[in-house]
Assembly symmetry: C2
Homo-oligomer: 271 residues x 2
């Protein structure tokens, strides 16, 4: 497995070199510095946002549960700008805490920092999902992944890339309901989830769809397995094709809602 090294030596040196320039150009320079100059970029091999923007149009698992917002202060009237949101814990890129499905399971506040910064692997089923929206990640997929990329590390986030994130701006395509109202999108198979929990002691399952279970699931077996094992899920993850299949670390920035069944999370990958 590759390591992730964030070394500040070069940044400090650069800071020292630029010190005189900054001194001369003053506040104007600070004000016009572009985000691209943020120092850590140059000291890390990669960083990627795996989070969808959260707005009222984001697709809900159950229609009617979309987020809503209102402006409560404006710069013109109040001197500052602020919005208020009404959101369920499971809209947008978010975590399912054990409490979501397990009676007595841990809520959002009880997931520890060490559980939220974990090695990530990406299992790619996009080609199959393009042909069959009901496809699931299987144990064979996991064995094939390990043959190519090496053993899935202990405590990992195992993330399904199905290509579904490209549909997120079209709620109908993302939910993909059939004539009977049933949903059709990929997820983890229950056997694969059980195998990962049993033999790879994973920390988390993540998907680029609305649910760790496939849309057709009637029993939410993967949700039940994860919560029963005191592990968490990550749903509506973005841009999984843009990070390495193995070797990245994911930061899962779960909002620690009191009593939370889960909640919104900013998810970033570095490598």
């Amino acid at each position: 497995m590759a390591g992730v090294c964030v070394n500040h030596h070069s940044m400090t040196r650069r800071g020292a070199l630029l010190g005189g320039v900054a001194l001369a150009t003053g506040l104007a320079a600070a004000a016009t510095a572009t985000p691209a100059t943020a120092a850590p970029v140059s000291t890390r091999r990669g960083i990627r946002d795996l989070t969808h923007p959260l707005g009222p149009a984001f697709p809900a698992f159950s229609p009617g549960e979309e987020a809503s917002r209102r402006t409560v202060a404006t710069i013109a009237d109040d001197g500052y700008f602020m919005q208020e949101w009404r959101i369920v814990e499971h809209i947008g890129t978010h975590v399912d805490a054990p409490a979501h499905f397990a009676p007595g399971g841990r809520p959002a506040t009880e997931l520890l920092p060490a559980e939220l910064v974990v090695p990530a692997v990406v299992v790619d089923v996009a080609a199959r999902a393009a042909r069959d929206p009901d496809t699931v990640v299987t144990v064979d997929d996991l064995r094939a992944f390990e043959s190519r990329h090496g053993r899935i590390p202990d405590g990992a986030a195992v993330l399904m890339h199905s290509g579904w994130a490209t549909r997120v701006d079209d709620p109908d395509a993302y939910r993909n309901a059939g004539p009977d109202g049933g949903l059709h999108f990929p997820g983890f198979g229950a056997e694969a989830a059980a195998w990962l929990l049993r033999y790879r002691r994973i920390r988390c399952l993540g998907v680029d769809t609305l649910s760790v279970d496939p849309g057709v699931s009637a029993d939410f077996a993967v949700h039940q397995l994860l919560a029963g094992a005191d592990r968490y899920g990550l749903e509506n993850v973005a841009d999984l094709h843009r990070i390495p299949r193995t070797g990245a670390t994911v930061f899962v920035g779960l909002i620690p809602y009191e009593g939370g069944s889960g909640g919104q999370a900013r998810v970033l990958a570095t490598w």
Copy 2:
């Protein structure tokens, strides 16, 4: 400056060694594994949560703006548990995006990943704040910090530790309003903020209080300086006495609210 190395070799080795055990003990072992066994802990020198839990009792800058929640589904009735929240973007541990104070400033969705994973320094004014709640971080404090800890790196999050976080469970003590209703808690002085923007090209100012400006501020000068320089603020940060004064990296897990003036953030430090 110290570097931060997250090396997965030992974890992978441990995973291989434990493979047979996990195989033998099966799903029960996965279900009973404690969070403390999360692999990355052993491969990192430190990790710390700098985020307060978010609930209805969290102190608001303006009373009446506290978060509220309701239960929308229960395991007994619905098979799963879920809450809905009504929250302003500036409650709990949160980011002030440039759009909060700068007309045309960048909203939450436009802060880049590289701006959200940055080196941190902690400036400790707790002893002075215990005597004077209106104290501010001064340029002299910053010079004294650098004399002891070295130059503040380019692109840093500069975080004030005032000891105020111990008051967070008592909104009256945290807001600390005087007889005239004016608030009294520490913050950054405008001169110190301007100095950091001009000479250290910082990315962010953070505080363990309700505002980057001191409570007594009438003009929100530090907010104006930060937003005007296209930089962000971090408010209600927790546990700053538990991370190194220099050498940590903070991950600012800002929820990317569309059009957001800022928003809730999970803030973690690693070193």
